[in-house]
């Protein structure tokens, strides 16, 4: 009886060429785990770095090979759970490029001897060897226990590489997920490695671990919200596919309560990942506590993934009901911009300052998402690309400014930096100008395209508010410039470590992209505007 049905089951058709980039990344991550187990310790770093970079390059080539022949309106594959359409391809490209630059930054081990990461096991070995009583809990600021790995090599803890690849694979799936359950799984795949990576800092271990726990707890809440929202929406539409939800909402007498409660919970989960106020509380602590290279990866890539998914959910699933929820996002955008800009003013720590800046930028991005127009889609994605490279390079610069206790992130120790390292100060100033949105930087073009899309959709009051908050935020970027250029160097202040080749590439790539997209943004705008969502 059941036999007939079993034989009728055929394996789902999979468009392997379309999803090849994701497969390569996730496959390389799995290989990385095996390498971690079998490759001798002194070889691991070079093997892992090579495998990861080759995987990213391979995924990039696969993507590049697929794009020219890709169907214009996109394809859905794996029983319609993944939609590989123009936005997904653009975001994949963005993610891969950002991840490549971030991975180089993570792999850096000359700035901090032995790299910025430590594993719990290595730490215990070091602490035990030193006869320390409080195993595993060295001091916070300036705690240098574990500075040398137990075996004394200049190697580096390398589990961070497969973790990065797993997170990246999750992100790529996240932005292409066509149904909410796939999206949830992708969310977990991208989040869990990030929680771990946050706690890996070699120095200031308590701060790093605190940030990991905080991120994990709040992230778990957000995931629960997301999942609960998915459940309610399934109850509403009888399907988790975004297209079905849109159809169900288009003309039915089903319970609006289920729809909007589900929508609200779902969006909370997404806003949390995008560090949008008022769901931003984790951002400053995590950005400050995590190893700077991980922060750079998170700030750039997670933002892209979260907003990519948000675009898809809102454009595909909830465009028809936008009148009902637009007001809520208005409030969210305003709160996010206000929190980011105003609280950013009070920060003394450069990493926290950039964290608040990212909250303000998230507010601008929400405006772009809310437009629900083609130009808004292209504008938001361009903004993500521009912001990702700028913020990644900014964190890479932060990692170079050090004193005896490691990274000197307090603003006071940056005094007079321009006298000692004019080049790094100049680059950082340029990046700050980009974050502030001054013309001839990608930040300005991003703001310009987002705001013109928003004005075209009648969001004028929001745009004016956004511009005012941009000006407020400019003050704290400018303060760093003042400290670097116009104040006298303090005795015992920080100095700039000569970066290794890897960090140099990261900074150079971020800066060049920021400049290029600022001066000649036409080609990227064209890619971003290539087409809409498939579903």
């Amino acid at each position: 009886m059941f036999g007939a049905q079993v034989t009728a089951l055929s394996p789902p058709s999979v468009d392997y060429t379309a999803i090849l980039p994701v497969l390569i990344v996730l496959g390389a991550a799995a290989v990385g785990v095996l390498l971690e187990a079998f490759v001798p310790r002194n070889l691991r770093w070079s093997v892992q770095v090579t495998v990861s970079l080759v995987a990213l390059a391979g995924a990039g080539i696969a993507l590049g090979a697929y794009v020219p022949g890709a169907p214009a309106q996109g394809v859905t594959t794996m029983v319609d759970t993944l939609a590989i359409d123009a936005p997904a391809l653009f975001l994949w490209g963005t993610l891969l490029a950002l991840a490549f630059a971030a991975l180089l930054f993570i792999a850096e081990r000359t700035v901090e001897p032995g790299g910025a990461f430590v594993s719990q096991a290595a730490l215990r070995g070091a602490a035990g060897g030193g006869g320390s009583v409080t195993t595993g809990v060295p001091g916070t600021a300036g705690g240098r226990a574990g500075a040398a790995p137990a075996d004394g090599t200049r190697g580096m803890q390398t589990e961070v590489f497969p973790l990065t690849l797993f997170a990246l694979g999750g992100m790529m799936t996240f932005v292409a997920a066509n149904d909410l359950l796939t999206m949830f799984i992708a969310l977990e795949v991208l989040s869990l490695p990030l929680y771990l990576m946050c706690g890996l800092a070699r120095r200031r271990r308590l701060l790093s671990q605190e940030s990991a726990v905080k991120y994990f707890l709040l992230g778990a809440f957000a995931s629960a919200f997301f999942l609960y929202g998915v459940a309610l929406l399934y109850g509403y539409a009888g399907s988790v596919r975004l297209g079905d939800i849109a159809t169900a909402a288009a003309g039915s007498d089903r319970s609006d309560t289920l729809l909007f409660a589900g929508f609200g919970l779902l969006v909370v989960g997404l806003l949390f990942k995008g560090s949008v106020g008022p769901f931003h509380a984790w951002t400053p602590d995590v950005y400050q506590g995590a190893p700077t290279s991980v922060t750079g990866f998170m700030a750039a890539c997670t933002k892209v993934a979260a907003f990519g998914a948000m675009l898809r959910v809102l454009y595909v699933g909830f465009e028809g009901t936008s009148w009902e929820w637009r007001g809520v996002l208005w409030a969210v955008a305003i709160v996010s911009m206000a929190v980011g800009a105003v609280l950013g003013l009070t920060q003394r720590d450069v990493k926290r300052m950039i964290a608040y800046s990212s909250i303000a930028h998230a507010g601008f991005l929400v405006i772009g998402v809310m437009t629900l127009s083609d130009s808004g889609l292209a504008a938001t994605m361009f903004y993500l690309l521009a912001y990702g490279f700028t913020t990644l390079a900014a964190f890479a610069v932060v990692s170079l400014v050090r004193d005896a206790d490691g990274e000197a992130t307090d603003l006071s120790s940056w005094a007079g930096l321009a006298k000692r390292s004019p080049l790094i100060a100049g680059v950082f100033t340029f990046l700050l100008f980009a974050l502030a949105g001054i013309p001839l930087t990608s930040g300005f073009v991003g703001k310009f395209v987002v705001f013109s899309a928003a004005l075209g959709e009648g969001l004028a009051p929001l745009v004016v508010l956004a511009l005012v908050f941009s000006a407020v935020a400019a003050f704290f970027y400018l303060r760093v410039v003042v400290v670097m250029y116009l104040t006298e160097p303090a005795a015992g202040g920080a100095s700039v470590t000569v970066p290794g080749a890897f960090t140099t590439i990261t900074i150079a790539a971020g800066t060049i992209v920021t400049l290029l997209l600022g001066i000649y943004p036409g080609f990227a705008l064209e890619w971003a505007g290539a087409g809409g969502f498939a579903f």
Binding site: I438, P439, S452, V463, L486, P521, G522
Partner: protein, 518 residues
């Protein structure tokens, strides 16, 4: 390549060349001076090739920049832009000429950085006047802040950081609000034409047809940015700090040319693009303008610091210029445009002279001086001349402009004109009072006598003043000479400037009238 493009690019090349000469201050100064002189020479063919009766925009060139938004690198000049470009091309070599003599850079700063920022500033400023693409204008308008920010912040007086940040934030906020209007105009044009563009002429033709309500909002965005730049009360508070802390040369460029971008913006953008709103809101603007004239004058009289004094004088003069622009008569507007030139010359000279006084006495406080004309008669004479030009004595260039503004404004707005006349009276008071306090009477004041000179100061027996105080050097005279020639020359024969700007002013005004009648 047009002369105009060469004029924009040459200072940039100079900046790059000078930036490479960080070690050698003298060579850097000479190189920068050479480039600025070459730039000035380029103005000659530009001016000669300009036909006042010809097209609205001349020397045009356009290259596509961001096709998705219809953005071009488009440059061109009308008469108003031409005279302003000529002014900055004239002022920059003079400013470089006083570097190291009148202007001393703070310890440990090299001349190379200063000069290269100055030349970048010049290039961007010329670009702002020449841009005929609204997006390009906005970009240059904002980027222009960066070199000025560093010029004030790195090379200025003791309170320079505060002044630089205040300057930047005021202008940046104004600029961002203008950005909203820039995008708004673009969206309006995109809706109307089906395809967006930032071309100035196209935007003017589309946006000037918009309903009054829309126009008012867009107008306010532009107006706010320009009102910060050409400081109108109550948005003026950054100028006394910025001009007071800036090095003398930078103050000349800032007050002389950069602030004129605001009044230039009124003429180029606010009026033609939003004619109905301009007429509707003219009473508001005129009120602010006259308030500026009176408020600036009164505060100028009360200043203790000479550089802040000049800043307040300028605020009063910007009130006059705005009054002329928004009086909507040809006479008044021609007066305003020539005033933009003449104010640059007269105030530029006053700032330079005050800089020379400060360089001798080592203090910018007025009460540290007294009877200085006895020690430096030539410098005293220069200060009197610059002061008289500032208060618009007949025979000096500013008189022609001020007279035209008041005459034109009296036709259309008699009440405002009469109130502004009070400003002329006050000007005589504050300028002559300054001259009297600094130059007249017995030699006195810490800067000139005894204590100010420190322990090593040698005093001249007959006056009790420090011997180190000498009269103007030939180099200083050479810097002031072109300004003196122009101040008196344009005072007696203003026709060259008036002829060049009148057709552009008439075109602007006719746009307002057409737009207002619709």
């Amino acid at each position: 390549m047009t002369w105009l493009l060469a004029l924009i690019l040459l200072p940039l090349v100079g900046a790059a060349a000078v930036a490479g000469l960080r070690g050698n201050d003298r060579l850097a100064t000479l190189t920068a001076f050479g480039f600025s002189l070459a730039t000035l020479l380029l103005v000659v063919p530009l001016w000669a090739g300009y036909e006042p009766a010809g097209d609205r925009m001349q020397q045009t060139s356009s290259v596509e920049w961001i096709p998705q938004f219809g953005i071009h690198f488009a440059f061109g000049i009308d008469g108003i832009a031409l005279v302003m470009i000529a002014v900055i091309a004239l002022l920059v070599p003079l400013v470089i000429g006083v570097l190291g003599v009148t202007d001393k850079l703070p310890e440990g700063r090299s001349a190379g950085g200063y000069l290269s920022l100055l030349l970048v500033q010049q290039s961007l400023t010329i670009g702002v006047f020449a841009a005929t693409d609204v997006f390009l204008f906005y970009v240059l308008f904002e980027v222009m802040l960066i070199p000025m920010y560093f010029l004030i912040g790195a090379y200025g007086g003791p309170n320079r950081q505060y002044a630089a940040v205040k300057f930047f934030l005021y202008s940046f906020l104004g600029g961002l609000i203008m950005l909203a209007s820039v995008i708004g105009s673009y969206v309006l044009a995109a809706d109307e034409l089906g395809e967006g563009t930032f071309d100035w002429a196209t935007l003017v033709s589309v946006v000037s047809d918009a309903p009054l309500g829309t126009q008012v909002w867009l107008f306010l965005g532009f107006f706010l940015a320009f009102a910060v730049k050409a400081p109108l009360v109550p948005l003026h508070t950054w100028l006394p700090d910025a001009a007071g802390q800036a090095p003398i040369g930078v103050a000349v460029v800032l007050v002389g040319v950069l602030d004129k971008v605001g009044t230039f913006g009124f003429l180029r953008y606010c009026l033609p693009m939003f004619p109905a709103a301009s007429v509707e809101l003219a009473p508001l603007v005129l009120t602010l303008a006259v308030a500026g004239v009176l408020y600036g004058s009164v505060l100028a009289a009360g200043q203790q610091d000479m550089k802040r004094f000049i800043a307040y004088v300028s605020i009063a003069h910007f009130g006059f210029i705005a009054l002329g622009i928004f009086a909507f008569t040809t006479q008044a507007q021609v007066g305003s445009v020539t005033y933009m030139v003449n104010h640059s010359l007269a105030t530029g000279m006053l700032i330079l002279v005050v800089g020379m006084v400060i360089a001798r006495g080592g203090s910018s406080t007025i009460s540290d001086y007294g009877g200085m004309a006895k020690l430096t008669p030539l410098l005293g004479g220069m200060m009197l001349l610059a002061g008289l030009a500032t208060l618009a004595l007949p025979g000096t260039n500013a008189f022609v402009s001020e007279f035209l503004v008041l005459l034109g404004a009296f036709e259309s707005r008699p009440v405002f004109a009469v109130l502004a006349v009070l400003g002329m009276v006050l000007a005589a008071v504050y300028v002559l009072w300054l001259y009297q306090r600094v130059m007249q009477g017995p030699v006195r004041g810490d800067a000139l006598v005894g204590a100010g000179g420190g322990p090593g100061a040698v005093q001249a027996p007959e006056t009790g003043a420090r011997k180190a105080i000498r009269d103007t050097s030939p180099r200083e005279l050479a810097v002031l000479a072109p300004l003196i020639v122009l101040i008196i020359g344009l005072g007696l024969y203003p026709k060259p400037v008036v002829d060049v700007v009148t057709p552009s002013v008439e075109a602007t005004l006719s746009a307002v009238q057409e737009g207002d009648e619709r």
